[in-house]
């Protein structure tokens, strides 16, 4: 057990050009946005992003040039807003690849990695064009003769997570749903985490059954309150739908490329740290989102 606390910029040094980067959370929930922003600023390139339900964070990374491929089960702007114009533009023009698996199949690919086996058998995705396009192989049960789909283990080079609580060694706890964070982290070679709170290990111990991942799975811990903003963090703050709505509006007004570039300039590349960005967002706005979350979960 070693002290792994560092800054987001230091933590993002775990990512190298060409890496497969897995992003925890789901849609606008517990997305590690502070790490996404730091990754945009780092100028890494040739990355592949993998995440089961992905949206805005993928668009930022694709337009900024970091990511040129997706391994996902779903990508859109968010259910309110429909199809992702960035992904449409880049994929339809052949500038980015989009590898599609079903939600469970992708989840099991992470789980195979987490379990330390090269594949897992499943009854999903069979017979569909997802199967046909995935080039996933089949496997026959040696006991029953049943044919199943074999999904290959997916081992990210780096996983990004955002959690409610971590100690300095990297023992992690969250509230609410866990998304696919556990399997993603256990499958990945390196794991980088932002936490709303860094707590003493004694506080982790107090609710040891709630610990989602143990310290030896984690490589870097970053203290970052509101680290999932503009998404939600269960029980702590609601997603800022107005912020996201104005992002979407920007894409509609300026077109996908220019819209995202404008957003990045306003919010990411001209802000030295995520805290600077949060200050730009404004304290009252953040407080209102906390209030909404409290009302929604009590």
């Amino acid at each position: 057990m070693t002290d792994k606390v560092m800054s987001a910029d230091e933590a993002v040094a775990q990512v190298h050009d060409g890496d497969l980067v897995a992003v925890g959370g789901s849609l606008f929930s517990r997305t590690p946005m502070a790490l996404i922003f730091a990754l945009v600023r780092s100028g890494r390139s040739g990355l592949t992003l993998t995440r089961s339900l992905t949206c805005y964070e993928a668009e930022l990374l694709m337009v900024s040039g970091g990511v040129d491929g997706l391994v996902t089960s779903w990508v859109g702007l968010g259910l309110q807003w429909g199809v992702s114009p960035v992904v449409r533009m880049l994929v339809e023009q052949g500038h980015a690849f989009h590898e599609e698996w079903s939600h469970l199949a992708l989840g099991l690919r992470f789980k195979a990695g987490a379990m330390g086996v090269p594949f897992l058998p499943t009854a999903t995705m069979m017979g569909s064009d997802l199967e046909a396009r995935s080039k996933a192989a089949r496997v026959t049960c040696p006991y029953t003769g049943q044919e199943l789909l074999a999904v290959p283990a997916l081992v990210p080079d780096v996983a990004f997570l955002h959690v409610h609580r971590a100690d300095k060694f990297g023992n992690l706890q969250v509230e609410g749903y866990r998304h696919m964070d556990v399997d993603i982290a256990r499958a990945a070679k390196r794991v980088v985490v932002t936490a709303e709170q860094i707590v003493d290990t004694s506080e982790i111990v107090r609710n040891a059954s709630d610990t989602m991942l143990p310290h030896f799975t984690v490589d870097a811990v970053v203290h970052q309150p509101f680290g999932a903003y503009p998404g939600e963090c269960y029980g702590l703050y609601e997603a800022d739908m107005a912020h996201l709505d104005s992002y979407v509006q920007g894409l509609r007004d300026r077109g996908p490329q220019a819209g995202v570039e404008h957003y990045l300039r306003e919010n990411v590349t001209t802000r030295a740290t995520f805290d600077d960005f949060l200050q730009h967002v404004g304290r009252d706005r953040l407080a209102a989102l906390q209030q909404q979350a409290m009302e929604m979960t009590t």
Partner: protein
Amino acid sequence: MSPASPEELRTITISRMLDDHRVVFAGVGAPLVASALARRLHAPHLSVVLEGGIIGVTFRDGSLPVSTNEMRAAFGAPMLTDITDVFLYAQAGFFDYGVLGAAQVDRFGNINSSIIGDHDHPTVRLPGSGGANDIASLCNKLLIVTSHESRRFVEKVDFITSPGWLSGGTTRCDAGLRQGGPAAVVTELAVFDFHPVSKEMRVCALQEGVTIDEVRSRTGFELTTVADVGQVAPPTSVELQTLRKLTGVDAHQ
């Protein structure tokens, strides 16, 4: 009270198919709203599951969740777990119903939500499966709800994102899918089932005031019918009022 919109009509019709004490794996949108409505009316002990890891969704009037992982979907549920875990319950056969919408559906109940046009040079790259493929592959009974337009009701979908009966007959089972398969399709025009042997979609019952010719004219493939095509009972005012309370549409408009 204004009459039911096409969307409301579909939602009410499909909600009636969800029996009490069962478990339904609902996609977002109309499937989720229909599940909420069923719980409010005839199926108070229906358990609604969302792929976000939420088992036993409760619903607040005027504040239905938009996605499958957000606080308003989670709060009040007796169990929160992870995403893959929820699908593994489906794979193990615990879920009585899956309910899905469809961007494109064909005569064998196959659904496309991935690609319009050619895969390598798509005309439109849609969001993709999410959990739809898994819901269609693994739930014991699949119910599909969609608006009725001939560009949606096609002979063969451009891409099978979520498997129905594939090419009909035994092809679904032959492909390795031993569970489930589509049982019904609900639109604002009619309710459809699938022939027990050929697995072709067929008209089962018509919505109020709709003729079979109207259905045929808005369907992109040849439709058969069951022996005696029934009538879907029109929405009751209780159904409509309850639905509008749920969705936050003024019940007295």
